[in-house]
Amino acid sequence: MSLILFIEQALNGLQYGVMLFLMAAGLTLVFGVMGLINLAHGSLYMIGAFAAAAVAGATGSFLLALVASLVCAAFAGVLVEFFVIRRLYDRDHLDQVLATFALILIFSEGTRWIFGSFPLFLDKPDWLSGTVMLPFGIEYSLYRLWIILVGLLVAAGLFWMIGRTRIGIRIRAGENDREMIAALGVNISLLYTFVFALGAALAGLAGALIGAIQSVQVGMGEPVLILAFVVIVIGGIGSIKGALVGAILVGLTDTLGRSFLPSFFGLFLEPSSAMSIGASLSSMSIYLLMIGVLLFRPKGLFGGI
């Protein structure tokens, strides 16, 4: 293995981590503020991707498609929050898991009913196509660099919002003590709707951004959802910082595991079994990471609650 390949793979891991962060940020926010486990977060991701594909197909504009993904996912989020989710805040996790699992079924088949069973087309715009040369002679996809940038901007925006704005103060207060914030005269149900819509919009944006280089199809949300849960559990549920660190850890572990585990086993095993053992182990690597983290920190890396 060459150093340059290692650096490139580390960059890939970072980029994958940032993609996961976009998805995990909304999930951890919703959990931190409302204490809600939302399995349907993956469906909002899917809605964002489908909305973007539909709008890009009709208008040809990628930026309009991104806007559409934000708006549609946020709108779906508000609807779901209003009709279903707000009845679940004071329920236990079990009811939340089942109800949002039911939402997955409804959203997935509803999307298939509207858009059909075949994957949709969504591509990055021309101005983000192609590659750029990085130092050390690494040729890297411009679009992937752009995703890293957007992801870091979103992270910065969230840190700013939570740390510096009035709405952020309310969110933090709500995390600590629901009754207190209600006593302060803040309209708590409006705050919750806002936070849920924000989380949904982030998921939708992630769906659109990632959909441009992946497959826009029904069921695209569930594998990402499980990864996002792994991320926020590693980071500590409710912590945006934890989500960012967790996402990057997961991204790096997965990417580097995939790239180097088979050749690592090749050092002392025959090639075919090295390949299969390496591949099996790398598909389990993030779960091993998560179990390892939880054994030493049962509330995740940044989980204080």
Binding site: V84, L94, D95, V97, L98, W113, S276, M290, L294
Partner: protein, 327 residues
């Protein structure tokens, strides 16, 4: 109490009468359908032992369901091919005997549950949900890429394993076996729920401080409950494998964990008979809605949503009202 008693009796009665009727009119598929409901019910009873009685929300019970299935698959595969399961350090041969397979499935599932539980019980709440899911996912990916027993293709065992004195390939006889096991499991869980262990476990779920103050360690109670829970679900997995004469990594998937949880919640968390009602309802829904439309998952989702939002406590909560204290 009386309402619940009648509901239990009716449930068991219908579960027995329906296949007998199907047998008399020669509809073997309907017998198989009832058997499927029973096997799912046993899996749900297993989860309910940890989830309902101990408050341990495990989203990884597919690990035990799948392990039970693979115990059956691996033992039967080696018996069919006349190869030993293991040649060293001691020779273990395959078997086609159901009772042996059940015992091994129960023992290994309990052992796996002790391992997973000992690690997972360090966490609680959502972390516990996710760490149990992680263990099941690892087994899922492992079996997918493990070529010896078919990987993702799974493994077909063409003929059901044997039970002394019965023809297990005859649907009604296999049904009878499963029904008998259901009764035994229900009897055990019913007894355990009223036993000293049940009282202590329930108290631990409600208030860990309390159980410590009377001199007992919650961790031991939870771990025991988790092991029993895993063993029952593992037994269900072995039966499920024999029902289908087929095993595959799907048994380990998170959707399987989710479905087992649905049986429990649909029926009523913490009720001894809850998972039975839940599994029967789920099979009924799957069977009738599947014929309505290509998009039947939408209706299934809407019904599940309705149950969570408006029928708290599941079917049993709706019909039998609030749970009465066991005494």
């Amino acid at each position: 109490m009386r309402k619940e008693f009648f509901l239990n009796a009716a449930l068991l009665g219908v579960l027995l009468a329906f296949p007998l009727w199907a047998w008399s009119v020669d509809e073997p598929y309907l017998i198989t359908l009832a058997t499927r409901a029973i096997v799912f019910a046993i899996a749900g009873i297993g989860l309910n032992f940890a989830l309902g009685f101990g408050g341990l929300v495990s989203l990884g019970h597919a690990a035990f369901f799948g392990l039970g299935g693979y115990v059956m698959g691996v033992l039967a595969f080696h018996a069919q091919t006349y190869t030993p399961v293991m040649g060293w350090p001691l020779v273990i041969n395959g078997t086609k005997s159901m009772p042996t397979i059940w015992l091994i499935a129960i023992a290994l599932s309990a052992l796996l549950a002790v391992g997973i539980g000992a690690l997972s019980l360090r966490t609680s709440g959502v972390y516990f949900i996710m760490i149990t899911l992680a263990f099941a996912q690892m087994l899922y990916y492992f079996t997918i890429s493990w070529p010896t027993y078919g990987g993702e293709d799974g493994l077909s065992i063409y003929v059901r394993n044997g039970f002394p004195g019965l023809n297990t390939m005859d649907p009604i006889q296999f049904f009878a076996i499963c029904y008998a096991i259901l009764l035994i499991v229900l009897a055990f869980v019913f007894a355990a729920s009223r036993s000293p262990f049940g009282l202590a476990l329930g108290a631990s779920r409600q208030n860990e401080e309390r159980i410590q103050a009377v001199g007992q360690v919650p961790f031991r109670l939870y771990l025991t409950a988790f092991a029993i829970s895993g063993a029952i679900t593992g037994l269900a997995g072995a039966l499920f494998a024999d029902l289908n004469r087929f095993i595959s990594p799907t048994m380990f998937s998170w959707q399987t964990s989710g479905e087992i949880m649905i049986f429990v919640i649909l029926g009523g968390v913490g009720r001894v008979f809850g998972p039975v009602a839940g599994a029967v309802l789920f099979i009924l829904l799957e069977h009738t809605l599947g014929g309505l439309s290509e998009f039947w998952h939408i209706y299934l989702g809407a019904i599940l949503l309705g149950v969570v939002l408006f029928a708290r406590g599941g079917l049993y909560g709706m019909v039998a009202g609030r749970e009465v204290a066991h005494d």
